[in-house]
């Protein structure tokens, strides 16, 4: 009976070893199994010599076999390529700054590749942006066309003191026959003849009597496949022919309305735009008018076609393009206000009564913190722009909302990380502290401090982080170690603590 039990346990132990062998890398498996089977044989022989079947003996042998799993895992870790965890990669200050710089460069590079971001950050594509205003009849947030063609004609015909001239454009859907049997639906802006001249955008004036069509960069790439001979081609738009006069680069248009092309109507045809048709109105400020407001946006009361007074909002075109940076700065301010709610602001206590650190060492610590902030700022700015203007077809208002949310969230997270990272670094070598250990009990908080203790692997000191801030231990405290501790910090440690 006992012999039967022994062989049953023997089979069980062999199975355990076989199971553990699967954890061992294939190239080491046969030798590893050979050694453990041999050792098991000797263990069983030794223990069996003590007497017949005994539960305690079998338990000891089974415990021996269970150790094979730890051995197998150890071998597996040894032969696996060492991949440092992310926190370890930030260990030295140089590595940390290099990684941040790499992220910043990647985000900036992505921004350079996205045409939407390019047009959003452009200072102003127009030559006299200080004199050009976008006039709308309702709130400035309204993105759609608000000014009627009749209003445009009425103001153009009347003598003005504030504005010297106006230009009008109305986006409409049209079918365009690009080639025989190839008809596409385009958004065409029917504009007054002076629109591109007013904006001073480069375009060619053709001798042709045909209406002039100016293509957007996007439409030229999509429908003409970057064909350099597209200019001069005659296309069929509805029942009449139009000629491609120019292509406007993507970065040179940031007015509302996502249009594929602009149709410059001669003045006589421009009158064909129905009076009730709504479009966008650009007004050029009269430079001689001394009473022109100097703010980027204002409201004015003017009479409409019907003679009724109405509020109009005027926005300086140059302010439209700089709004992305203003938004970012505002979100940074909000993130700074919200920061104390997510983490504590003080960097901790660094008593220097006994250890007077060199001024250069203390200065280096602050330089490191400022460098992190300096790298975080452009990263967050361009990251929010990448997200907001990833898609060119997105509504401008939606893009602004995405930029607001993403820049606030990214800024708050990044600032929080920068402060927490700074607090968990040694003030002497700026290396990341490691080996967190719990000290004390919260229930004994009045007798002794309780919290987490971290250590500098260079042996410069210990960091005590209280779990419950008290009046006598309100913030984390650094404890410098004197040179007598150096014996515990080998330059090349054989293994990390806990490994052996």
């Amino acid at each position: 009976m006992s012999l039967h039990r022994v062989s049953l346990f023997s089979i069980g132990n062999q199975s355990l070893l076989r199971l553990a062998a699967f954890l061992v890398p294939r190239r080491l498996r046969s030798e590893w199994s050979r050694e453990w089977r041999s050792e098991l044989w000797h263990v069983r022989q030794e223990r069996s010599a003590e007497g017949p079947f005994c539960w305690h003996t079998e338990q000891e042998i089974t415990d021996f076999c269970l150790g094979a799993f730890q051995d197998a895992l150890c071998l597996r870790q040894q032969s696996a390529p060492t991949v440092a965890p992310l926190s370890r990669r930030f260990a030295s200050p140089a590595q940390c700054l290099l990684l941040l710089a790499t992220i910043a460069a990647a985000v900036y590079g992505t921004a350079q590749l996205l045409p939407g971001v390019q047009s959003a950050v452009l200072v102003s594509p127009y030559r006299v942006p200080r004199h050009l205003m976008l006039i709308s009849q309702s709130s400035p947030a309204a993105e759609g066309p608000t000014i009627t063609a009749a209003q445009f004609r009425a103001w153009q015909a009347r003598r003005q003191s504030l504005f010297s001239t106006f230009a009008f454009y109305q986006p409409v859907r049209h079918t365009i026959e690009i080639a025989p049997h190839r008809i596409e639906g385009w958004t065409i802006a029917r504009s007054s003849a002076n629109l591109l001249d007013l904006l001073e955008l480069p375009h060619r004036v053709s001798e042709s009597t045909l209406p002039q069509l100016v293509l957007s960069d996007q439409a030229w790439k999509r429908y003409f496949g970057n064909d350099p001979h597209a200019v001069g081609r005659v296309l069929r738009m509805g029942d009449r022919e139009v000629q491609v006069a120019a292509i406007i680069p993507a970065v040179q248009w940031n007015l509302p309305g996502n249009v594929d092309a602009w149709l410059q109507e001669p003045d006589d045809r421009a009158h064909a735009i129905p009076d009730a048709a709504k479009g966008f109105l650009i007004g050029q400020l009269n430079p001689l008018n001394r009473h022109a407001p100097f703010t980027t946006q204002w409201s004015m009361i003017a009479s409409t076609v019907s003679g009724q007074p109405e509020y109009f909002t005027c926005i300086l075109l140059s302010s439209r393009s700089s709004s992305t940076f203003s938004l970012f700065l505002f979100m940074v301010l909000l993130a700074c206000i919200a920061l104390p709610a997510t983490t504590s602001i003080p960097l901790g206590e660094y008593p220097d009564a006994h250890h007077k650190l060199a001024r250069a060492t203390r200065f280096r610590r602050w330089i490191f913190l400022v460098s992190k902030f300096a790298l975080i700022a452009p990263t967050v700015y361009y990251l929010s722009l990448d997200l907001a203007y990833m898609s060119g077809s997105m509504h401008a208002e939606t893009s602004q909302y995405i930029q607001i949310i993403s820049s606030f969230a990214a800024c708050l997270f990044a600032l929080r990380w920068a402060l927490r990272d700074q607090r968990q670094r040694c003030p002497v070598c700026l290396g990341r502290l490691s080996n967190p250990a719990r000290v004390g009990h919260p229930s004994r908080n009045f007798l002794a401090w309780s919290g987490t203790e971290l250590i500098c692997v260079g042996g410069h000191g210990l960091l005590h982080v209280p779990e419950i801030p008290t009046s006598w231990f309100g913030t984390q405290r650094w404890l410098y170690l004197d040179p007598s501790w150096e014996v515990l910090f080998p330059e090349t440690p054989l293994a990390s603590p806990g490994s052996l």
Binding site: R34, E35, R37, S38, E39, W41, H42, V43, Q45, E46, D63, F64, C65, L66, G67, A68, F69, Q70, D71, L73, C74, L75, Q78, P490, T492, P493, L494, A495, S499, L500
Partner: protein, 105 residues
């Protein structure tokens, strides 16, 4: 690995046991009182750091004694130097696991 390499107490105990003539895993376990899950992984690391080296017993010897061959461990030159340094660091090491020469003295 140079002689000034600092070992944990467990690793130093295992190195001392191998030096004392306990040259296979189970005997090291018996001498140090450490479980197999500690001894074998520690010996892998010591071998990786070239403080000990292993070799298989000749098959003919094992066959003659009707048992499977064993894997024996031996200290390297670097291992001896490291053990010397560890003995200064852990003075009780030699008393816990005396070498045969010391026992004769």
């Amino acid at each position: 690995m140079a002689g000034e390499t600092k070992l944990s107490h467990t690793a130093a105990m295992i190195l001392q046991a191998v030096n004392a003539g306990f040259i296979y895993g189970f005997s090291v376990m018996e001498t140090t009182g450490l479980p197999s899950g500690t001894v074998y992984p520690a010996m892998r690391r010591l071998e990786r750091d070239e403080l000990i080296r292993s070799s298989w017993e000749a098959q003919s010897i094992a066959d003659a004694e009707l048992r499977p061959p064993r894997k024996y461990y031996k200290l390297t030159r670097a291992g001896k130097l490291t053990l010397e340094a560890s003995r200064k660091r852990y003075p009780l090491l030699e008393k816990m696991i005396p070498t045969p020469e010391e026992e004769r003295v």
